[in-house]
């Protein structure tokens, strides 16, 4: 695929993107209340704390929650068709991603993380 331009990480998301350089998929965990959330935020949506958010590594496994095969790309040089999905991580949070290796995916399929490396050293998590 033609690689997308991913905006730079910001004050909240730097740690999450840094972990992708080592192909580790993280979710944010609140050490005050135990809540897990994705994408990373400045605040815990369960207990409102801004002081207890840490990154926790996931197993990189999950289940397809919903997916769609796209036949017209929103930018040039993207091969169609391709599959965009919501994956429910084993730890709980949903993540938007692509499913690679074919376009015959269905709700409930078990998937594992893989990585698409970006030119700046970061990587995008995809699933297969």
């Amino acid at each position: 695929m033609s690689l997308p331009e991913v905006p730079p990480a910001d004050d909240v998301t730097t740690g999450w993107w840094d972990a992708t350089r080592e192909h580790r998929l993280m979710v944010q965990e609140c050490t005050q209340c135990g809540h897990l959330q994705h994408p990373p935020r400045a605040v815990c949506t369960a207990c409102s704390s801004m002081d207890h958010l840490e990154l926790r590594e996931t197993a990189g496994t999950g289940e397809v929650d919903a997916c769609t095969v796209i036949h017209r790309a929103p930018r040039p040089d993207v091969d169609v068709p391709y599959t965009v999905a919501r994956v429910r991580l084993t730890e709980g949070p949903l993540i938007l991603t692509r499913l690679v290796d074919g376009d015959q995916w269905a709700i409930g399929d078990q998937v594992n993380v893989g990585w698409t490396d970006l030119p700046d050293g970061r990587a995008l998590p995809v699933f297969h």
């Binding site: 769609t68 036949h71 929103p74 993207v78 919501r86 938007l96 709700i107």
Partner: protein, 382 residues
């Protein structure tokens, strides 16, 4: 007792492919709606609009040389105009304004301004965590909702296509519809059209046209002295649920469940009392989910519910009687035109598509990616 509020004017701008600017179309919609109400710009002291510029209501006030005592630019996509009806009613009841115009117009087809990927705002989380996957915005979200619905409750793409088939039947009765005179379509036509984002084809997706509309609100007491039959605002409700693709757990349970419940409770009626229903049909699935979520049928039942032709002309639940965003007009934030058609039906002005004796109508808008949901219950003045 709180003052009652009514819609006293309603109009469309030019529709389709106009070659006109946004502010020309806005001017058409607003002055036509005011003329319909027997009023002029000089009577207006409240403006609600969006989709013009960053300061949309301010911009429109300046353009009309008005210094309003109240404005609203709630930016919530296609449901904004149903939300504005609630805010305008409250402003009139509070005495902050007496005569409010709610309007929208777009020249998106003439200006070729619509993009498949949506609008890029690099500072929001979706720019880092969702857009890199090249989902189509908004269609891929609705596609996933459709996939979840068909998976969870059963049903076929052909059954879902009934929304588009019925919309075309209505459009064939509306000379202003973009697809007027284009003949009927079948479920087979819909499912065999070009796939965009599975399971939705191009025929499951709304039109891309220019167009706009406006409604004028004032107190019911004053409305009774104006030329048109007043259409009273009986109830309203709204929900805001998400901007991201991953915030909502169950894509088949939209915020319309809550917005509809609130609106019906405020009006003191139930879905069984509704004579004509206008819901945002950005995609076939949007309308199907809305009919179900508003309580016209049970959970998981909508595809069977509409299979008997009940949403078509002559059916028991007339739906999107203008032809909808699918076959009439879709200028982007279509919610204003839901209100215009509901008002016309309640006044008995809808010509060949008129629902006989319609006295209660519902307009339900949906914005973004099932992000915002707003329901308005309207009734003829009794």
């Amino acid at each position: 007792m709180t003052a009652r509020v009514a819609i006293v004017g309603a109009a469309e701008s030019d529709l389709g492919v106009t070659g006109k600017s946004i502010l020309t179309l806005q001017s058409q919609a607003v002055t036509r709606a005011l003329a319909d109400a027997g009023l002029t710009l000089a009577d207006v002291d409240g403006i609600a609009t969006t989709g013009i510029s960053r300061f949309s209501a301010t911009q429109l006030a300046d353009y009309f040389a008005i210094q309003p005592t109240w404005t609203d630019s709630t930016f919530a996509g296609g449901s904004a105009y149903e939300m504005m009806v609630a805010r305008a009613a409250q402003a009139i009841q509070a005495g902050q304004a007496t005569t409010i115009v709610i309007s929208f117009a777009s020249n998106q087809r003439s200006a070729k301004s619509r993009r498949l990927g949506g609008v890029h705002e690099p500072h929001i989380p979706e720019a880092q965590f969702e857009e890199p996957y090249d989902m189509l915005f908004p269609v891929s979200y609705y596609a996933m909702a459709a996939q979840q619905y068909l998976h969870k409750f059963g049903g076929t793409r052909e059954q879902l296509a009934e929304i588009a088939v019925a919309a075309r039947e209505w459009a064939l009765l509306n000379p202003k519809a973009f697809r007027y005179g284009k003949g009927p379509i079948t479920a087979e036509d819909v499912v065999t059209s070009a796939m965009i984002s599975s399971p939705l084809t191009v025929a499951d997706c709304c039109l891309v046209t220019d167009g706009g509309g406006a409604v004028v609100l004032t107190s019911l007491e004053r409305a009774r002295d104006l030329p048109r039959k007043p259409v009273e605002i009986l109830g309203y409700g709204e929900r805001t649920t998400n901007t991201s693709f991953t915030a909502v757990d169950d894509l088949t349970a939209p915020g319309a469940i809550g917005s509809g419940r609130d609106a019906f409770a405020r009006a003191g009626i139930t879905p069984a009392d509704v004579d004509v229903l206008q819901v945002y049909d950005s995609f076939t699935i949007t309308a199907a989910l809305s009919v179900e979520a508003l309580g016209f049928c049970g959970r998981g039942e909508v595809l069977g519910f509409i299979a008997d032709g009940r949403i078509r002309p002559g059916g028991a639940l007339p739906l999107n009687t203008s032809g909808g965003g699918l076959s009439y007009c879709h200028p982007g934030q279509y919610g204003i035109l839901l209100l215009v058609e509901a008002v016309r039906q309640l006044r008995g002005e809808s010509g060949d598509r008129q629902v006989e004796g319609a006295s209660t109508a519902v307009a339900h808008g949906t914005g973004g990616i099932l992000s915002t949901h707003a329901t308005v219950v309207l009734g003829v003045d009794r």
